[in-house]
Amino acid sequence: MFAAFDNFPALLIWLPLLGGILSFTIGKEGKARMISLISSFLSLGVVVASYFLSNSNYLELNAVSYVWMPQIGAGFGFVLDGLTRLLCLLTAIAFPIVFLVTAKDQYKRSHAFFGLMLLTQTGLMGVFMATDALVFYFFWELALIPVYFLSSIWGGEKRIRATFKFFIYTFVGSLLLLIGILYVYMNTSDQSFSIVSFYNNTKLTSGEQHWLFLLFFVAFAIKMPVFPFHTWQPEAYEQAPTPVTMILSGVMVKMGLFGLIRWLLPIFPLAMKDYQQGLIIMITVGMIYASLVAIYQDNIKRLIAYSSIAHIGLMAVGILALKNVSMQGAVLQMFNHGINIIALWIAAELVERQTGITKISALGGIAQRAPKLAMFLVLSAMANIALPLTNGFVGEFMIFNGLYQYSPWITAVAGISIILSAVYTLNMIKNVFYGETVAATASFTDISRLHVWVFIGITIIIFVLGVYPTPVLNVIHQTADIILNRFN
């Protein structure tokens, strides 16, 4: 009955791609906006439909493959299994939210803006769904190029420099990844880029695995980013236009974590075991560092940026701990973090748009003027610091659970970063939203009805996943099983 349905991973590539090209060529603002909304909602519909239509076997579900370059063993392979589906869902939710929130904003040359946004979505979907290493690499780069242009054209004052730094960083990472991919490809028994061949290659010696692991890891670590590869991130987040920042921090950084799960651990299990401890310690130290830096930030955007480094670090540790429960928690948290941080960015954007200020010490008392905004912000901040009943709690609890099985000491240190995250988040809320109003916030008006609806949607996701995460866990538990099986 659903024979045709099997092809629909490709639909998630085509929809935003065609939408993007269309809005580029159409050149009119209103229509481009409409096209981007429609295409992003259609993608969301496709992903949601996929949830109801089958189970989620790892790398099996809805796999499609097109012939591309058979001589060199590359094919256009896509899959929508459990892990992928969750991340595609995140992508598919993030884009409509971003388009809705910025529906009233004016951009110069807006058709190009929306076109590039949709091309970014294409790239992201491709990265998550690719089952062919060359296709994965293609989309990995393709997701980057439109973001480079978006940030450099529509970003803040120091945009060109900041974005360029970001680009060079990630480009170096991806080129190293390319060498790694080529080397593994040379050593597959059937000379193929397909992920199955990559998983089952037997020709790599332990020594080769070790340095290949590093090549792959650097690429993913830059993208996440984890300490010490993070220095591009605060500047890039600060200078990029807010819609792009939302995508960057909500969805794009998940590319790195996703890469760890699908393209790193299962391919180099021997090396993984040897590096495990060192990497976990490095990332944990980075989490504490990022949290401490966040406490001293006086800029909302930079604060959220550093908090993101800490949270991403926790997810990376959860994955690297190689425990079933923490890996599931990390995947769940990848989704949750995406939703929560987008909510925080929306609030930051609304504050900045009205007051023109991102300095925390120059703001205050917004809650008196905008109670609705304050309420939603507090909710999403609670989710971000993982209060029980919110989605963040479930994910982080699972991560800590698995991490404890790995090492109680690491868990204790990582726990400190959660406490620190409460410190800086609540501090920011206190200074920006409560206390006396200042001149800049005296005439602050509350959020529009559209924004209320967006926030209600986000709130529903926060609480539903906080209370009843089982449906999502059902989708991802098998991924964790299969990947961890490779280590036994």
Partner: protein, 458 residues
């Protein structure tokens, strides 16, 4: 064989075009038609209908690799004529002479593509070089052009001398000029052979502007009229590499192990010098000449690896590098001011041309979805395949990352910066469409490079 004779005849025809018509537009038209005929004749040769059967005592022979190279050269040249023909015409009544010279250069390239003997290599390279000296000095009233011509001539003759000396040494040792004979007759590496090899390596490095023999390149490229720099930096350089590859594959392939270290040294040096020096350039023309050194560094990786991936990859590299560079040079040639700042705000004034130029730049930088990505990809693949040398590949990609820095400065100028005063540049409709076609071809090669490969391996 078709190509050699027909292009030589076309050269003669173009020489006398001045008697037939005075309208410079017609020269370009005849040249383009001639190229199309040339393309068809090479294709016929490729599918097995050679017009001419000439006994060359086995000194010339054409295989699918050489003929594919010929096709790529003629196709690039076609794009070059269509994009830059208007600039060649500005040389006035004598502009048909320049077309004639270019056809003679093409003849030399076809000879190189069929070479089976060191003598033919020498003849081919000379036929390519001598018209080039004239092209470099074609702007007689400009001192820089004169300087470029003289510099190029002196250094070029010197390197040709080195090559002749090398050929003499090799002949002395092996007793034959035939590439295969040298390859087969090779036992242990004698000192005479080693000296000959090093001399030829130096001469070839000079021709393709590989470090440490690259010093002439920036000055010559800068001084030569932009429209001819475009030709020198792309098609001629490809021919140099083809000769380099073919010579080392066919004549010295059997003692690959003896020279691989030397050539990897040249590759690393070329990559580093080309890329790092390009970072500091303020003029786009000079930037492109250093970028051509940097790209040469990548192509040398193909000569280093000497396997099937290198073969296919080099053909692709010639095509995409020539197309991209010709595209950028064609736009640059319309400007009087060659600094990067001249392009500030270019995208707002000419969205179509700058979009096409953007794709050319992305292709040079090796971004996926453009042909440049697969060109670099194949060079890396060849190197990794050959004895699993990963350190060389890592040096290469780090240099590619540096190259992004300077290529993207042009993009930043075009798209992200605004200009208060700018030079007004006119683009004809045909030029715009040709730029777009060129860009589309680059993207097609970035999605399906295998179309080109199937030609090589037939």
């Amino acid at each position: 064989m078709n190509a050699i004779i027909i292009s030589a005849l076309l050269g003669v025809l173009m020489m006398y075009m001045g008697f037939v018509t005075k309208k410079t537009r017609n020269y370009t038209m005849v040249a383009v038609i001639g190229l199309l005929a040339l393309l068809a004749s090479i294709w016929l040769d490729y599918v097995g209908f050679p017009f001419f059967q000439i006994d060359t005592k086995g000194m010339l022979g054409f295989n699918s690799f050489g003929l594919t190279f010929d096709l790529v050269v003629v196709a690039s040249c076609l794009i070059y004529f269509l994009l830059s023909g208007a600039e060649i015409e500005t040389f006035g009544k004598s502009s048909s002479d320049f077309y004639a010279l270019i056809f003679f250069i093409l003849t030399g390239m076809f000879i190189i593509s069929g070479m089976k003997s060191l003598l033919i290599l020498f003849i081919g390279i000379e036929i390519v070089s001598i018209p080039l000296y004239i092209l470099a000095g074609s702007e007689k009233s400009n001192l820089k052009s004169n300087e470029a011509a003289l510099k190029y001539f002196l250094l070029g003759s010197f390197s040709t001398g080195l090559m002749l000396m090398g050929i003499a040494f090799i002949y002395g040792d092996s007793g034959t000029f035939y590439l295969e004979g040298i390859n087969i007759g090779f036992g242990a590496l004698s000192s005479m052979m080693a000296i000959g090899l090093v001399l030829i390596l130096a001469a070839m490095s000079f021709k393709v502007s590989a470090a440490p023999f690259h010093f002439w390149t920036p000055d010559v490229y800068d001084g030569t009229p932009t429209v001819f720099t475009s030709f020198m930096a792309t098609i001629v350089k490809s021919a140099g590499f083809f000769a380099f590859f073919k010579l080392f594959e066919n004549a010295f392939g059997s003692f690959h192990k003896h020279w691989e270290l030397l050539i990897s040294f040249i590759a690393v040096l070329t990559l580093l010098i080309g890329n790092i020096t390009a970072v500091f350039q303020q003029s786009l023309k000079r930037l492109l000449s250093y970028s051509s050194i940097a790209q040469a560094g990548f192509m040398i990786l193909g000569v280093y690896a000497l396997n099937i991936y290198a073969k296919q990859g080099l053909i692709l590299y010639f095509a995409v590098y020539s197309m991209a560079t010709i595209g950028i040079f064609a736009v640059l040639a319309k400007f009087k001011d060659h600094s990067i700042e001249a392009f500030n705000g270019f995208a707002k004034r000419h969205p179509m041309v700058s979009a096409a130029m953007l794709i050319c730049i992305l292709s040079l930088a090796g971004i996926p979805l453009t042909g440049g990505f697969f060109a670099k990809y194949y060079m890396l693949l060849a190197v990794i395949k050959y004895a699993k040398v990963v350190w060389l590949a890592i040096v290469a990609v780090l240099c590619a990352a540096i190259s992004v820095y300077y290529y993207f400065r042009v993009i930043q100028a075009m798209y992200f910066k605004d200009a208060e005063t700018y030079e007004e540049v006119e683009f004809s409709k045909g030029f715009k469409y040709m730029m777009i076609i060129n860009a589309v071809l680059l993207i097609l090669l970035g999605i399906h490079p295998d179309w080109l490969f199937s030609l090589v391996s037939n």
